[in-house]
Amino acid sequence: MDQFINVTQQLFKGFGENCFIFAITLLLALPLGLIVSMGSMTKFKPLKWLTKTFVWIIRGTPLMLQLFVVFYIPPLVSNGSFSFPRMQAALIAFVINYAAYFSEIYRGGIESIPRGQYEAGQVLGMKKTQIFFKVVLMQVIKRITAPIGNEIITLVKDTSLASVIAIPEILMNAKDFSMEGLIWPLFYSALFFLAFCGILTLLFSFIEKKLDYYKG
């Protein structure tokens, strides 16, 4: 029983790190993704090209490698005189990675809005920003709720990858127990993820229902 409590405590402590990465990543990557998506839709060719390349690189390489690059490359290049703290490095990698994925979801959502919606706003004398925020955005949000929800649930599990730069997250703690001869904490840790993803699933079906007051 003592052992169970100890394991639970340790796993909770680890899961706290996962939740922290999760929260900060969402908080920063959701708006950053919007900026990136603007870049990939701009008519200014060099910026568009640059953004597309960025998204290609980020989506085209493993998040694990990105974690390595953010954490190890600065100290290797500066011979140890500059490095991000581990958690900061993890957050930078996660935010950039998820912003790239979110930006593509936003882009898909924004481009799926019929041109007539923009034109209706234009002939009513609305400004570009007004059309975006007052007319298009809500419709985009409704359309991207499902794919964003999907991505967010993937993020919950991806936070475990932070262990490659030795963030003591839940899976790493669970593995440590197996080094001490306890196997079950590894499987027990699954419950934490399942519970968290379960809550998120409920939350998203609630949001989708909320947004269901209109069709189109």
Partner: protein, 268 residues
């Protein structure tokens, strides 16, 4: 995958360090000025692990603390991913690896290695009921043997005549190797003796596993690794190890963890 990445980064680092040589404070001054020696560890009993009180403890932990005391710097323990240990070292995110690191030629080539302070060997772990069975090459014929990839255990499983007729499977950690045996997907795990002391003791999930008596392989030695260029730090550490041995502290710590027999550094 992770090892591949680590290798890639090490190469990148080498290229960069060639370009970036300059006059700097000596390697020991770098550590002394920081006031701390950052020690890269992973958790495994009985070397470095969280005790019942949640504090880091273990043979290596206490040993390192004593040595750092001798050196006049603070011992800061940083948990790392074992696959990335060389990169961590070269990126200066840690200053040494002190975690039952087996000395071999490849590591001597790439890192500065201290005086060997402890002996280790590879042993076979099986289910308790089979412990008397696997005592000859004949007996392990056809059995499934697991070991950690790129470990001393793997060298034994692949190279030793004893296992010539056995089927070898590699896994990514020693703990996984034990899990394979426990779950019956493998018959024999070849792991560090030191590791087996902590992990298959009574009260753990592996209490039904047992070390096969009288069959030792690949005796090896443990050392502390520092950056190849940190020669001054290395000699300081070596001196401090001897000093800790001389005043009896090292033996005292080893006693506490039942490791006295394996100790290589004796008081002068």
């Amino acid at each position: 995958m992770k090892k591949l990445l680590a290798a890639f980064l090490t190469v990148a680092m080498a290229a960069v360090s060639l370009a970036g040589c300059g006059t700097e404070a000596s390697d020991w001054d770098y550590i002394k000025n920081k006031g701390e020696l950052v020690i890269g560890i992973t958790y495994f009993e009985p070397m470095n692990y969280k005790g019942d009180d949640g504090e880091l403890t273990g043979f290596e932990t206490e040993f390192a603390q004593s040595v750092c005391e001798e050196l006049g710097v603070k011992a800061t323990f940083q948990k790392i991913d074992w696959d990335s240990k060389e990169v961590e070292l070269n990126a200066k995110t840690i200053d040494c690896i002190w975690n039952g690191l087996t000395i071999n030629d490849e590591r001597k080539e790439n890192m500065g290695i201290s005086t060997p302070y402890m002996e280790n060997k590879q042993v076979m772990v099986t289910k308790a009921e089979n412990a008397d069975k696997y005592t000859s090459a004949e007996a392990v014929k056809g059995a499934t043997v697991v070991a950690e990839k790129k470990s001393a255990g793997e060298d034994v499983a692949k190279g030793n005549e004893f296992f010539k007729e056995a089927n070898y499977v590699s896994v990514d950690s020693q703990a996984k190797a034990l899990l394979e045996v426990k779950s019956g997907t493998a018959d024999i795990a070849i792991i560090d003796y030191v590791m087996s002391i902590g992990t298959i003791a009574n009260g753990t999930d592996y209490a039904d596993l047992k070390v096969v008596e009288g069959q030792d392989f690949a005796k090896e030695q443990y050392g502390i690794a520092v950056r190849k260029s940190d020669t001054e730090t290395l000699s300081k550490i070596n001196e401090a190890i001897q000093a800790v041995a001389d005043d009896g502290k090292l033996e005292e710590i080893a006693d506490k963890y039942n490791l006295t027999d394996l100790l290589l550094v004796k008081a002068k």
